[in-house]
């Protein structure tokens, strides 16, 4: 006996519901239509049973679950990173491009200050000194700082975890400390919740 389309659909639906309920009996269901397990219908039922057994649940790590929970309920201080990760990829790409431009232009920061008079109106003697010292650093230090900033923006835009940010900040700090005679008092950037 060949099943029509509707009969086949109903048989498969009944079988999977029985599977989920733990009461599946493919032979008994097929017996209603006088069909053996080797029939087309029987083979589809057995395939469903194979899928039911063969697709395991994959659980996330407890560390990830706990970390995301803390970010959601506001217990984690790096919620800004979490918010950045949900930005659409197109906007992240735009941020990447702008960040790359900014990073590569960092050695010209002092020139920018001259172009934009408003920057000079802000009385921040320490910032002025820092920018001036930065401007007199060797070119390769300036370029390294610019590339470091660019890399930092790339990491934000690539939707990596906060561990990448920590590693970047540590690397940047090491980079500055490596050239002790050219240490710059760059204002720290704090990421607040």
């Amino acid at each position: 006996m060949n099943l029509n389309e509707v009969q086949m659909q109903n048989l498969l639906a009944e079988h999977i519901e029985a599977l989920i309920a733990g009461k599946a009996d493919a032979e008994a269901l097929l017996a209603n239509y006088a069909l053996p397990l080797e029939s087309r219908a029987g083979q589809l039922l057995l395939l469903a049973e194979r899928l039911f057994v063969g697709m395991p649940e994959i659980k996330p790590s407890s560390e990830f679950v706990a970390r995301l929970h803390d970010e959601l309920v506001g217990a984690s201080p790096l919620t800004i990173l979490a918010r950045l990760r949900q930005i659409q990829s197109e906007i992240q790409g735009l941020g990447l491009g702008l960040g790359a431009l900014q990073g590569l232009q960092l050695p010209n920061l002092a020139s920018l200050q001259e172009i934009i008079p408003n920057l000079q109106l802000k009385s921040n003697l320490q910032l002025d000194r820092s920018i001036d010292r930065f401007r007199h650093m060797p070119r390769y230090y300036q370029l390294a700082a610019g590339l470091t900033l660019t890399a930092g923006v790339v990491l934000f835009a690539s939707r990596r975890t906060r561990e990448s940010l920590s590693a970047l900040l540590a690397a940047a700090q090491q980079q500055y400390q490596a050239g002790e005679e050219h240490v710059v008092d760059v204002p720290s950037v704090e990421i607040s919740a």
Partner: protein
């Protein structure tokens, strides 16, 4: 309206949790998160085939859900279906951006289950499962989603229809076509006839891959 200190999130109903979350109670949303994070992660792991993307997409789902919880209407779709819809939209964008259609990392699955000294029957069975999962990888996206929601999440046709925005009848039809194409592909690979595998407890198949 109860104050935050009076709320017992662990025993509250989903309706209460959703209501509190809509009022801005993050702890309530955190409880909802705990109830669904495994399922959403599982969904993404099957759809992306790797842990980092699954974690990233899972994060996006819950961030987006929390941001838009005030727009959620419980009278429309169940909360789980709402989450899956968000997840479905994200995975569609992910596939578009990555042009990949992995289900799970097949090599990890195979090597974790194949036993060199196992009886021939067990080895043969594992190889058949490997072929089966490999066939799943080449199914269209919606059929992969159907198989996941049906066999991993064990959702009813009605629930799946809500998530995939289809009628129950359409899901039954899609289920039939999916099994048929999978069967035909396995036959083409020389895997057949399909033998019964019931008797192996499904609970033994749960994997804590990423601990």
């Amino acid at each position: 309206m109860s104050s935050y200190n009076e709320r017992d999130y662990a025993i509250a109903s989903e309706t209460d949790l959703i209501g509190w979350a809509r009022e801005g109670d993050k702890q309530a949303f955190g409880e909802l998160y705990q109830q669904y994070v495994n399922r959403i992660y599982n969904y993404f792991y099957y759809r992306t085939g790797n842990q980092p993307d699954a974690e990233d997409l899972t994060t996006r789902v819950f961030m987006r859900a929390m941001a838009h919880i005030s727009n959620y209407d419980e009278r429309g779709v169940p909360f789980s279906a709402w989450l899956y819809r968000i997840a479905h939209n994200l995975i569609a964008n992910w596939h578009r951006d990555n042009s990949r259609r992995k289900v799970i990392p097949l090599d990890d699955y195979v090597t974790s289950h194949l036993q060199p000294d196992a009886p021939e029957a067990i080895v043969e069975q594992n190889e058949e499962e490997a072929h089966l999962l490999d066939s799943i990888r080449y199914l269209p996206e919606e059929r992969q989603q159907l198989l996941f929601l049906k066999f991993v999440e064990r959702l009813s046709n009605a629930e799946i229809g809500t998530i995939m925005n289809r009628t129950e009848g359409a899901i039954k039809s899609l289920y039939h076509r999916t099994l048929s194409s999978l069967h035909d592909d396995l036959m083409a690979r020389g895997i057949g006839p399909i033998k019964s595998v019931l008797g192996r407890k499904r609970s033994q198949r749960t994997k804590n891959n990423h601990e």
